[in-house]
């Protein structure tokens, strides 16, 4: 029987295999950031251990960095200490760091591919659940905890149970690909399979709906695999993937011979069997808006807030969970999504802060200003994205519309830095999680695509972007 792409990558990275239980898997790339690494480096020091492969390890600071003027000091002392700790750890253990002043600084999952560090067929880990993003290039990319960060730093390996393989086929063609985006595809998937639908699996996204997408859109899809509970999500690499990585700053010198090898080997065999399957047809899908406190609580922009009974379909736990979500979100069942007024707009995060996201969002603006009741910000995913966007004049489009134009970082996606919602504020956000308090204690998050977020900023409430001219 044939093998899936995931199985091939898994098997080619087994260092030790046991009859029962986990396998020891080799890790090709380890990305490190300031929040989940300090305790791991402490562990190394305590046990007098070294970093085994500093040449396979790259660090940056993203979660906790301010996004305002980089020449100003960091006011929050605990944040400053965490950032200095990463600097010291990288220096002591010989790890390459893209610090707050580096032109390569940015969200770890944005800079990996942009620098050519992410490669097809590799295993990639990072102490961050959205590591699944790198799967867009046909890498097996896993989010890990701090103990595992320490384990990889020391041994360049991890003990892993083999996840099950999950095929998600995305069939059909979107009628208006500027209005219905990769974000809407992945939110539709999560809405259907649920936030635990992928637990214990690695998703392989397949079908025309996926191959039609650009690399940046594919990253949006793989990024949110973890919101369906999956360990990772990946896509068979094709010419688009190979082209994206060609000629980047850290693309390997023997790249073309690697590409020849990948073309031959990095495929799911036609007779391979997946352990789980789901198919989504995207011919008629609408822009999506989340209404609750997990990404599965999502509906079409044309719909109204569902009642807990409608949402739960008879499951008492889901019903209770929807009731709690509606109370937290201060929403009434039956309210049309387009009637929901917003206070804030956040265009950013490892899900949707790449150049293409910013270009698409800027098309909505067309010399309009954001609604007077709305505060809006754009936080590019990396300093490179910021620079490229500025070369295209996007910064001026956003600034003229009264958006704030910031430096790169995770920012209001998780609100570790000063970019947070105030209690009760309602935000249209291009990020990945609408959990209670995620963007600020008492803040209310609606997950949407960049074009939906930009349109909501202009109108002050959600609108169906299919009705706008986005050419």
């Amino acid at each position: 029987m044939g093998k899936t792409l995931f199985e091939k990558i898994w098997e080619s990275h087994i260092v030790v295999e046991k009859q029962n239980g986990p396998s020891l898997i080799y890790i090709d790339r380890h990305l490190v950031h300031e929040v989940t690494s300090p305790q791991a480096f402490d562990g190394l020091r305590m046990n007098k251990r070294k970093v085994r492969r500093p040449d396979l390890t790259i660090a940056t600071m993203d979660h906790n960095v301010p996004t305002n003027d980089r020449s100003l000091p960091i006011l929050d002392q605990t944040s400053a200490v965490q950032i200095q700790t990463l600097e010291k750890n990288c220096k002591d253990f010989g790890i390459k760091l893209f610090d707050i002043n580096s032109p390569n600084q940015g969200i770890v999952h944005v800079i990996g591919p942009q620098l050519g560090i992410t490669l097809p067929g590799t295993t990639i880990v990072c102490g961050d659940s959205h590591t699944s993003t790198h799967g867009a290039f046909g890498a097996l990319a896993l989010g890990i905890g701090t103990s595992e960060v320490e384990h990889v730093l020391t041994s360049q390996t991890l003990w892993l149970e083999k996840p099950k393989s999950f095929e998600i086929k995305v069939e059909g063609k979107r009628k208006n690909p500027h209005a219905v985006t990769a974000k809407d595809i992945v939110l539709s998937i999560i809405k259907n399979i649920g936030t635990g639908g992928g637990t214990g699996t690695v998703i392989e996204y397949r079908g025309q709906g996926i191959t039609d997408l650009s690399m940046e859109q594919r990253m949006t899809i793989c990024n949110m695999s973890v919101e369906a509970g999956s360990r990772a999500g990946l896509i068979e690499p094709d010419e688009k993937a190979f082209d994206y990585l060609r000629g980047r700053q850290y693309t390997p010198k023997n790249y073309e011979s690697l590409v020849d090898n990948w073309k031959e080997h990095l495929k799911t065999d036609s007779d391979a069997k997946f352990e789980k399957q789901f198919t989504l047809n995207i011919n008629d899908i609408a822009p999506q808006v989340s209404w609750g406190t997990n990404p599965g609580m999502t509906c079409d922009v044309t719909e109204s807030i569902p009642s807990p009974d409608e949402f739960s379909k008879g499951d008492p736990n889901q019903k209770k969970s929807a009731e709690k979500a509606l109370e937290y979100m201060d929403l009434e069942p039956g309210t049309p999504i387009t009637d929901i007024k917003i206070d804030r707009v956040f265009i950013g995060s490892c899900t949707n802060a790449r150049l293409e996201d910013l270009i698409e969002a800027s098309k909505v603006i067309k010399k309009q200003k954001i609604s007077t009741n709305v505060k809006a910000m754009v936080v590019p995913g990396s300093q490179m994205v910021k620079k490229e966007a500025e070369e295209l004049g996007l910064d001026k489009i956003f600034i003229n519309a009264n958006f704030e134009w910031r430096e790169a970082g995770c920012s209001m996606c998780l609100g570790m830095n000063p970019d947070i919602l105030s209690p009760g504020e309602r935000c249209a956000s291009t990020s990945n999680r609408n959990f209670e308090g995620r963007q600020g204690t008492g803040g209310r998050t609606h997950l949407v695509s960049p074009v939906m977020a930009a349109a909501a900023a202009i109108k002050g409430h959600f609108v169906d972007v299919r009705e706008l001219d986005l050419s």
Binding site: L24, Y26, G43, T57, G145, S147, G200, G229
Partner: protein, 194 residues
């Protein structure tokens, strides 16, 4: 890591599904660079209101659960962020066992690195356990939970059981395979980053 011992305690029922790690430890507490003292941040936004006053109707604020070591909760516990701070907070608060119908993958694997036992049981059994008011006993050695009225057996991967019972250092175990790792590296064609 301390070896895992038999646990005897009343349970704390947290009757919710999809409890994410942002709720277990909110992000404002992730700036710390050490592992200790996270218990006071556990379920912070559910335990305290905006003015940092105790919310009396949240289960952890009910004093009868003060010495409970066993949290019994709903499906997909620990979803979301990979933050291991979630486990450090549960442990530091006093919990050492968590029982739910299912757990998110990263959270589940983080548990075993910290001597914390997650037990996955059928939904019906979990719902019944949530009603239990007497002391129960969780014995990892025999894989049995004893309540006042019954004995419930649970499954666990033998390697993970050994790690917990013996309090093994995962990394020290791995470094015994140094030869295999070096051999893999000699054959591997993956280029260095720099």
């Amino acid at each position: 890591m301390e070896p895992f011992k038999k646990v005897k305690s009343i349970i704390t029922p947290l009757d919710q599904v999809n409890v994410d790690t942002d709720q277990i430890v909110p992000k404002q507490f992730l700036k710390l660079v050490h592992k200790s003292g996270f218990g006071k941040f556990l379920f912070y936004n559910w335990r305290y209101d905006e003015n940092e006053k105790i919310k009396p109707d949240f289960v952890l604020n009910d004093s009868k659960y003060n010495n409970s070591k066993i949290l019994v909760t709903g499906d997909n516990f620990g979803c979301g962020s990979s933050r291991e701070h979630a486990i450090w907070a549960l442990l530091d608060y006093g919990f050492s066992v968590i029982i739910a119908p299912s757990f998110a993958d990263i959270f589940f694997s983080n548990c075993f690195k910290n001597g914390f036992l997650p037990i996955s049981l059928d939904q019906k059994i979990v719902e019944k356990l949530q009603q239990e008011v007497d002391i129960i006993e969780v014995d990892l050695e025999t894989q049995i939970i004893k309540t006042s009225s019954e004995e419930i057996s649970f499954k666990i991967d033998p390697y993970k059981k050994k790690i917990l019972l013996e309090g093994l250092d995962d990394i020290a175990q791995t470094l015994q395979f140094e030869n295999k790792i070096s051999e893999f590296e000699r054959k591997s064609k993956v280029p260095s980053v720099l």
